[in-house]
Structure formats: structure tokens, C-alpha cells
Symmetry: none
Subunit: 197 residues, 4 copies
């Protein structure tokens, strides 16, 4: 009865998604998830070993996509196409993930405290940081700002990530998000790069 199993599994995950979204990982209750899913609490444990694994099962795909995106970001070195192109690309791919997994993305970044993903935001930021450093060093070395510390890249990365998820967290309309995200990324990258051109 594999079909039925899958449907229940989905119901549980969907209910869990709602619960995690509104109460965060720690604040969520397995009982509430089960009852929201219209499933006995005991049955939830047939599909997911425990709260942690339920959370992981929901977040894993998004995490993976996100990691891939970051990886791409990190390895795409065709600077020849210009920052504009890269930004458009990133925006597009991020929006793609967001379009399919908006809730998971927000939970992953902002509501994972207490779970094994509680550090994902900083992990993500670390990835972005590394990328920024690689790309921006030549730019910044021309600037009058004395970087003086690699950590400054960290700040930029954090700013970048926070800005993106702030937009995701507050807006639901895809078009508006796209517009805001583009503006934000341009603000972060093109302008900065541009003024040292």
C-alpha cells in the first residue's frame, strides 16, 4: 500500500511545515503536527524516527539545492560576463528555489534554532563570504576603505544573506520579491563594484 503511505507522509510533512513555520523548530509540537495532519501521533513515528528526522526530511531538499546554488556561485568565475549577469543568475536561481519551497527556505534560515540546522545560516554566510572574498579582493584593493581584516567580507556576506531572507520573510508576492531582490543585489554588488570601475 505504497500509495497510501506516500499520501500520509505528505500530509504529515505539510502539517509539519505549517507548524515549523509558525512556531519554529523548538516551539513546534509533534502532537499538534499529527493532529493537523489528521494522523495518529504514533503513526508519525512510523514515517519519521523522531522530531529531528521529520524536520530534516523537510529541510534536506532545500538545504541541498541551496548548497548547490552556493557551490555554483562559488565556482562560477566567468567574470567576463559581468556582475550584472551573475546577479541576474543568482536572483533567478534563488527565486526558483523560493518559488517551490518558500516556507522551507524561511524556516531553514530563520526558525531552525534547536535543530541541527541551527547553524545553517552562518554556514551559508561562510560560503558566500568565501566567494565574495575571491571576487571582491581586486575590487576592494582599489577602494579607499581599508579592509584590514578578512572578517569584513563576512559582514558583507551576512548583509547579503540577511537582506535576501528578510525580503523572503516579509513578502509573498513573487513579482515584488523579484523586484526587491534585484534592487538589493544590485545595491550590494553592482554599485559597489561599479563605483570602483
Amino acid at each position: 500500500m505504497q500509495y497510501l503511505k506516500e499520501e500520509i507522509r505528505n500530509r504529515i510533512m505539510s502539517a509539519a511545515l505549517d507548524e515549523f513555520m509558525s512556531k519554529g523548530y523548538e516551539g513546534s509540537s509533534m502532537r499538534d503536527i499529527a493532529s493537523e495532519a489528521g494522523v495518529a501521533i504514533g503513526n508519525v513515528y512510523r514515517y519519521f524516527k523522531n522530531k529531528d528526522e521529520l524536520f530534516n526530511s523537510i529541510m534536506e531538499p532545500v538545504y541541498r539545492e541551496l548548497a548547490t546554488l552556493i557551490g555554483t556561485l562559488y565556482s562560477s568565475r566567468d567574470f567576463t560576463t559581468g556582475i550584472q549577469k551573475i546577479v541576474t543568475d543568482i536572483t533567478g536561481k534563488t527565486m526558483d528555489i523560493f518559488a517551490r519551497h518558500s516556507s522551507e527556505l524561511i524556516i531553514l534560515i530563520n526558525k531552525s534554532s534547536g535543530s541541527r540546522f541551527q547553524n545553517i545560516k552562518s554556514d551559508l554566510i561562510s560560503l558566500v563570504e568565501a566567494r565574495i572574498k575571491t571576487e571582491m579582493v581586486p575590487v576592494f584593493t582599489k577602494s579607499k576603505i581599508m579592509i584590514g581584516d578578512d572578517f569584513f567580507y563576512r559582514i558583507m556576506a551576512e548583509t547579503f544573506i540577511n537582506g535576501i531572507f528578510l525580503i523572503f520573510d516579509k513578502y509573498r508576492d513573487i513579482e515584488k520579491i523579484t523586484m526587491l531582490l534585484n534592487n538589493f543585489l544590485l545595491f550590494c554588488f553592482e554599485d559597489i563594484a561599479g563605483r570602483f570601475a
Copy 2:
């Protein structure tokens, strides 16, 4: 208050500080704090009426200083002295708080969920947002960036606050923090203002 009372109080507050730092307000356990402090659970309640008051006792001084700083930031409109001066001033005062209460500041901003300070970060951001909007509108209107939404000011404010606390969260060395903070504030304000001058 015949013997060691102050020392025990300090032990409890110190243990609580560690606990709040690693698990946040809600995730922290009075029992764990007590045992970390090497004190019976009942004794903690001799020094602090309840979990809330223990938390408040630790956070109150920092909160007050921070509120004062924000007030100053909000009301100082002598743009004549230049952003450089304001930034230096803010940096100095923030560093002063940080130098004396680094952990408390971080907990206050990032780990107060469930406590009466849970909204302080967004309050802070709102304040900064209002300030940025007032000051920056004339600047941005000249820019090629289409703001398109007041929410963009929110992003900038969040970026600003996150940046500051990010620095605090990762560094312990006062001198390095001062340098990073200055660079960050300049990056946020002077450069932005400057390039549209």
C-alpha cells in the same frame, strides 16, 4: 548578607550568562544554571525571584544603555558636522557598551525570544529604519536605484544592525572590533552618501 553573598550572586549570573548565550532565554534551564553555578536550585531563587528576573537582571543595564544610545542616534540631526563625525560617535558609544557587556549585548539582540526583550532587535531596527529614511531619501532620489518600496529602508536598517552585531558576535578584541565597526559604518553611510555627492 553575611558571607560570600555577592560571590554566589555573581556565580549564578555568570552561569546564567553562559546558559543564555548557548541556549537562548527559552532553551535555558534554571536547574542547569544552578548546577553550573555549583548552587542548589532553591538558592538561585533567593537571589532572583524567577527566571524572568534573572534574565532581566543580567540584561537591564545593557538594555538601558542601548536605549539611550538609540535615542541619541535618533535625535542627533546636526548633519553639518558630517557623517564621519556621527559615525565615530556611534562607534565609540557602541564600543563602550560592548566593551563592558559584550555577551549581554549579543544575547539581548539575538537570543531573547520568549523574554520581554524579544522584540528589541526589531524595535532597534525600526528606529534605525526611520532615521535612515529621513536622512537618506534625498540621497537615494538622486541614485539610479529604484527604491520602489519603503521596505528597502527596512533592509538597509536590518543590514546595519545585523552587521554591527555580527561583528560583536564573532570578535572579542576591542581594537579589532573598533576598526571593523568603523569600516562598516563608513561603508554603510559615508560611501553611500559620498558617491552621490
Copy 3:
């Protein structure tokens, strides 16, 4: 509600009844009730939201019946049928309640301190007092006893109520209680009224 649910609920209520009977509401422990019922503490809370609700669930029916009885007692003014009739009526109805809820009645009256029923005994007495005063004033004015104070009616009412619950407290046999109660009420009302006829 698949298996034994009602039986467990009954076990808990029965254990609670014993506990409340021997230690009163405040002195009773949910842990002790659970272990007396042979049930895990957490399971008690599946059946009853909290200590208060457990107590209320046990007392509510009796309280309601008692309130109704009091209402009847208070409003029945057909003195024409004679005190004998009224007394028989009250006895019958009281015995009916007692026959079905003897322990609850005793707890309600004598061991509810700290619960929401803690004032029921004095409420009950006040009601009876008002009734006695209304009915008995003409009788007592002929008596050689100098009432001298309304408080004397209070004493009578208290005596009346205490007498009834004293009987309940010590006897289990319905027939014997009926007999004693009848005698007591006659002693309280008919004789007193009768001798001034």
C-alpha cells in the same frame, strides 16, 4: 477511546476521590493520585486538564444538585402543608444526592479549601440562615429566649448544616442515615416550632 479509556478515567477519579477525602483539595498531590490509580502522571493530564478540572469533574454534579436543592428549600413557602412535609421532602432529596455521591458531598462541604468551591459551605449556611430567619422570627418572638442578635440565626443555620453533614460523614448505611436525618430535622424544626404553637 479505543480501549479501557473509561476504566482508567474511573480509576483516576476514584483515586482522586480517596486523596481529596483524606487530604482535602490543597493537600492532595497529582503524583499521588496518579500512582494510587496505577497510572503515569502524564496520563492523568490526558483525562483532566489540570488539578482544578479533575476536582471540578468530580464535584460538579453534586454541586449542581445541591444548588438546586438549596434553591428549592429557599423558595418553598407553602407553610400550609406543615413543616413535617417540608422536612420529609428535604430529607428525601438530600438522601437522594447522598445515596449517589456521599464522598463528593462531604469533600465539597468540608474539604474544598483552595478550590473554587471553598465557600460553598458558608454560602449554604447563609441561605439556610436567611430562610430560618424569615420563618422563625414569629416563633422566636414568643419564646423566652432573648435572641438579642441576628447572629443567633447564623448559629442555628450552622448547626443545621453541620448536623446534616455530620451524619453523612459518619454513616454509610442509607436507611440509618435517613432515619437519623429525619430525626435531626424534626428536632431542629418541628419540635422547636411545635413547642411554641
Copy 4:
């Protein structure tokens, strides 16, 4: 330093009396008693082994006097002097105890739940019951009331005791109490006896 010790002991007992009076045995706190007495909590335990013994120390004298009075009541068989005389005598002696230990008496009877005196009221009632039975049987045998059970004497005894302590509990003025008490005892005994004369 026996003198000083005695003074502190008295201070503690006095504070305890107030506390027991207003909150009953179980509801009273050793901490509050100590602070009310202006004495360190630890010191209370130098004078009294524990809460129980403190309570006992306060109640013992009254209990003893009360027991003696009951004993007297029980053994005085000079019926020749008439019930009026006995009642006057009992009233006088009870008032004597009450005049010196009003609070203790009330606590002992009505606020001892949880202590070893929690059954004293019923003990007292049992004593009175025995006495009533001895004296009243000849009287009641002439009555139309079918006693039918020794327990009826119990009810009368309870009525008697409750009435007395009800008066004590509500009034503070010795003269008014004396008057009410006399009326009550007459009501209980003379009238009852009288009407079968």
C-alpha cells in the same frame, strides 16, 4: 542567658499564633513566622524542633485545659443543682479559657488541618457526646423523638461544640460572647430538658 531565650521563644510563639490564626497550620510558613518574630529562621529551629512541634507547643496548654474541662463536665453528676447551674458553670470555665487563649482555641478547633490536632474537634465532640448521652437518656426517653441510635447524641454534641466555637470565631467582645453563649447553651440544654419536664 535564660531570660533572653524565654523572650525570643515568646516572640516566636506569638508570631506563630498570628500566622496560624490567619492561614491555618498547613498554610503557614516558618519563614514568615520567623520574620514576623524578628528572628532568623534558623533560630526558630533552636527553640522548636520543627513546624509540628512549634504548633504543638502553642496548642498543648489549651488542649490540656480543654481536656480537663471536658473531664470535669463528664464527671460532674450533681444533677440536683439543675441544668441551669451546670450551664453557667461550663460557660464560665469555657469563657475563662477563651479569655486567656482565644486564638489558640479557635486555631485548635478550626485551623488545625494537617497537624496532629486535626481530629481534636471530633475528639472533643466525642467527649461531649458521652456526657450528653449519660445525662440526656432519661430525658429523651420521655420524648416523642425516637432516638433510635446513639449517633443522635453525636449530632447534639457536634451542634453544641460547633455553636460554641462559631460564637468564638466571630465575636471578640467578651460580654457579647458571654451573652450569646448563655443563650446558646440554654437553647441546647435547658429548653430541651425543660419541655420534657
